[in-house]
Symmetry: D2
Subunit: 347 residues, 4 copies
């Protein structure tokens, strides 16, 4: 067995940081060697610095690691970042400039022209942007890659399946998003108990622009965005994990319901450690997908689609669901790292 | 002051039946004189037959009334009905045939061609169908009028405002519906805690067809339906009361955002006892409407609209909310009764 | 009708502050003339400074009032205070010293020997401490009175009824407390959804010591505490409003179940504006009291008791419930102000 | 490896039945060969008969098994039963009489003098009652063993630890019970959202009597019950899984806090397949145990204890938690089966 890559986590005490810690326990390719968090935490053992919020105990392996300030260098081969937007731009660039590959879950670099916005099953060839990025920004060994917004991750996969086969023209999506998407403490219980919030700051614009980049083509070192339009309305509901998307799509090409089913079912998964057996699963039961029952499909990495029907205005409607802190955040970033290894970017 | 009308309630022990009982306490025009419920309840005092589920105590006035079987005649001038669909068709017709005006919250007659489907502020002239109905069905004094599905009631009012001013062509609606809409015991807590249900049996078709009738025109004793199309996806969320609708509309005529605001704000209310001061309220705050905070606006009879913006595919998007067991059920039926008095149908 | 007293609210933008604003709308004796809040809010109109979190709209009367810093003098006859503990001690004393009666919902002065801890129905004679307080502290017109912790308010009333008739020796109480008790944003939704929290910082000691003072006797200008012992375990549950207490009591004197019922039912209410018709209500139904159904009894000022049975270790067990931000906070403070007027302390 | 025992499940489609199906997947000693459920389900494949409600998909192994009526014989070596009380007495006896060991989660036989009420870590020697039972009831190979009520399972383990070391005299317990304890559909969401229910039918008496039998001694073929008294108040809260118990105990013998900690920590687990590594875990953090974070400790078989402090009336107070459908139901029954194999009762 080959050596393990040494991993640093930026923002290690937050909810997504905790997911990284949880998902990297016993990972065959990665070993966590550095944890960085805000000044308040730096200098403490992780077990003291972090109020563990996930079900199950804090993994043993991480308890004694002393948390460091969020600045390069760290004792690791590359870093995962789940920094808040206000510090991510400067800090992630500093790490890349210092020679660290940065696999970021933050939103700030996602739409930069030279930064890959990856869902590996859909667009791994976008890694070609790293070359561009290194040239443009004068990075050496370092670079930045990103994964999409957690709400986008819940419906971009079925969209990709449709776009490849039939061409997508327009998409209406209404999301019902879990509270873990807001971090911790995040949403006040007084706001969400017996309630729905019709507004998530900054979310609708992100949901409307990311999918076109993800489904774009890499042409001569740049992304040509896909030319469909997404209209998004985003709601917060009282669900712990799992974003649900209510979707209607208008296609460019006629298709039968059976062909659409097939397009979802046969979209290939990858052969990476964190790849689920099925990238997408399609439910037959009328009352699925449900976040509590389906968010953990494929250990949180499978996107579950259901209620697929012809629509009376557009072509099709369906409901799509994924785990927002696994497929929509930490799990997705880890998959990106596995992809980078597989494609030789960590040599 | 004129005499009070004597009222019977069919299905008096259910959740909507309880709302009737609550809303009719101290009503200036109505006096509850008959309560009818299933055989299991018949013969008992209401206080014994009914497990009261609404906040606040069961009103005193109703406790000693002995529940009767659901069959005509009852000792009253007209009846409110909140019967389940499987018994409503036969029973409501029996009451109408026996000379009782039936003001129904059930779904079975809503789409019958000779039955008014009323939102009084929008289409009170549809009462003209009663004449047709009496002729067609050979009713004497009796007749049947209905109010819309509770989800339709949450977005038909802003739709009406838009249709009158600019013409509506297409509507995408995704609903986030409260658990009280399923009656009692209704939704199992094991299904909805930490969860969203993407399916409500029979709901999407109802939501897709009722609005066109409501916004139709009465022409020579029949309704010409409005010719827009509604596409609906319906979800159940863990909210006690208050249905939220995520809406996009395509209009036939160009309009400015300010004109749309105006259309909502200036749509007239009526001068009936249960009419709210404002039929629709429009929120400025970005995070409103919210079911827990806004469902009781106008004592549950106001429809609250917010997050009105231009849409990037259709013309406008907005979020609309109303109280599903008041504006969407019992309150709406009571308003229908007040309208019928006002228009002389109870003479 | 006599003139209205002019009221200031310290901490006017918090959850309890908002309850004050809501409950004082149209109050026959009080008129809100000053709102004070943290520096961040000072200088803004209340409608801009305050994110209104209660059901229903922010009352019109308060919207244009400009929020002031929390320091004396304010343009009012007395102040209600719902300041956080860390600033309450100094600030409330400053107001009292400046001549303002301070009616505080804060915890800091509750156990001070010369400060009344009031539930007016139980111990209005403790107002005699004001004399002592003015002497001790050198206050002029000003003074400080307090109301109990919100959890104590949920079971002290039935305890008082038992203590007066039969003498209480020991009390085990386990509380199930609502999230509004933690203020806003308070409890993270990620902590309480599908969960129970077995710990509320600082709560158990407060619950264990306040009742003895409330039920004590004023003797020569000082309180002789009641000599029973309270053991408390406090839990947070996912309920918006309404604290529930599971109680067992050991009495000093034998009593029949019927006598205990009588003691609860006949404990007199007062004749003040905010007094409920019944200070305590006793439920017969086996599944009551429930916070959602019973918290608003007596407009939130009635304490509802149920499940009263003989206990197999102590003498009796019962469940007791009250609205934690009305009877347990703002409503209680307003009742204290009405009592002070009635007893002539505002002359 | 030895052969697998062939298992039947009575009540296989209910919530506890589903837990049996889930926990028995890939069990090294058991193979499910028969599923029995009500007449409505009999004759259908399990995948059609059962609305799967647990997170994750229905296990493949069980989908094609045809559900049979609940009557002996079934094609298996022994049966697990999770039948409702009204049918359990007759049916379980019929299976026992027909030669099947019956490992029951039902309440009906728990307190019968000749039926073991088992928590294997505490009282496996009670298996001696099987001999008595076979004699008394004229059973051949068959017999009935039971596991305790799910609420009792949450606090009997720490009680056992205390009773063995120091002797328990009196126990006050207040339970905060999960909705899954009520089965499916069980608790209506309209009853429990934003609410607490202070009543669970029949629960308090069960909680008050079972622990004394569990902690009793087998003397000459009969159980001498432990002679402490339990006082129980039982509440339902909006939690999916995990019963929390608020406990105070009076001991017969003086003990230090450290000794009590030790008694909990050192109580031995067993060496059976479903035994957790730690029968009890003791939390240090002030805000634990919490149902969502701790119910899955030891795969749902560990009882988690926290908030252990001296009490001011009794000797100690603590909070105890276990997974009500694993340690409190299906997992416990499976552990009983493993114990029976280990002790040679299935030969």
């Amino acid at each position: 067995m080959s050596r393990k890559y040494r991993v640093g986590i930026l923002g290690a005490t937050g909810t997504v940081g905790q997911r990284f810690v949880q998902l990297l326990e016993n990972h065959p390719q990665f070993e966590v060697t550095a944890l960085a968090a805000s000044d308040r935490s730096a200098g403490k053992r992780y077990s003291q610095a972090c109020a563990w919020k996930l079900a199950g105990a804090m993994p043993e392996y991480v308890k004694e690691i002393v948390v460091e300030p969020i600045e390069p260098p760290l004792d690791c081969d590359f870093v995962f970042s789940s920094l808040p937007s206000n510090v991510a731009r400067e800090t992630e660039e500093a790490f890349a400039r210092a020679g660290f590959p940065v696999i970021s879950n933050s939103s700030v670099y996602r739409m930069d022209e030279d930064v890959p916005l990856l869902i590996p099953e859909i667009n791994h060839e976008h890694l070609g942007l790293i070359e561009t990025q290194r040239t443009t920004r004068g990075f050496g060994r370092g670079f930045i890659v990103t994964n999409p917004n957690c709400a986008v991750a819940s419906f971009a996969p079925p969209l990709a399946a449709l776009d490849r086969k039939f061409g997508v023209e327009s998409v209406f999506v209404t999301t019902l998003q879990a509270i873990s998407g807001a971090g911790y403490p995040g949403v006040s219980s007084f706001d969400i108990t017996d309630n729905v919030l019709p507004y998530i700051a900054g979310e609708e614009p992100k949901v409307e622009i990311e999918a076109q980049k993800i489904l774009g083509n890499l042409v001569e070192g740049a992304i040509e965005k896909a030319d469909f339009i997404v209209s998004a309305q985003c709601f917060r509901v009282d669900v712990l994990d799992g974003h649900t998307a209510s979707v209607r799509v208008k296609l460019r090409q006629t298709s039968t319901l059976e062909e659409v089913f097939e397009a979802f079912r046969t979209f290939p998964s990858l052969n990476l450690h964190s790849s689920p057996e099925h990238f997408m699963e399609v439910c037959d039961e009328p009352s699925r997908p449900q976040p509590r029952l389906d968010r953990d499909n494929g250990k949180g990495m499978t996107v579950t689609v259901g209620r697929l029907f012809p629509d009376n205005i557009f072509d099709y409607r369906f409901v799509s669901l994924s785990h927002n802190t696994v497929r929509g955040a930490a799990g997705s970033a880890i998959l990106n790292a596995e992809l980078l290894i597989d494609k030789g970017y960590f040599k």
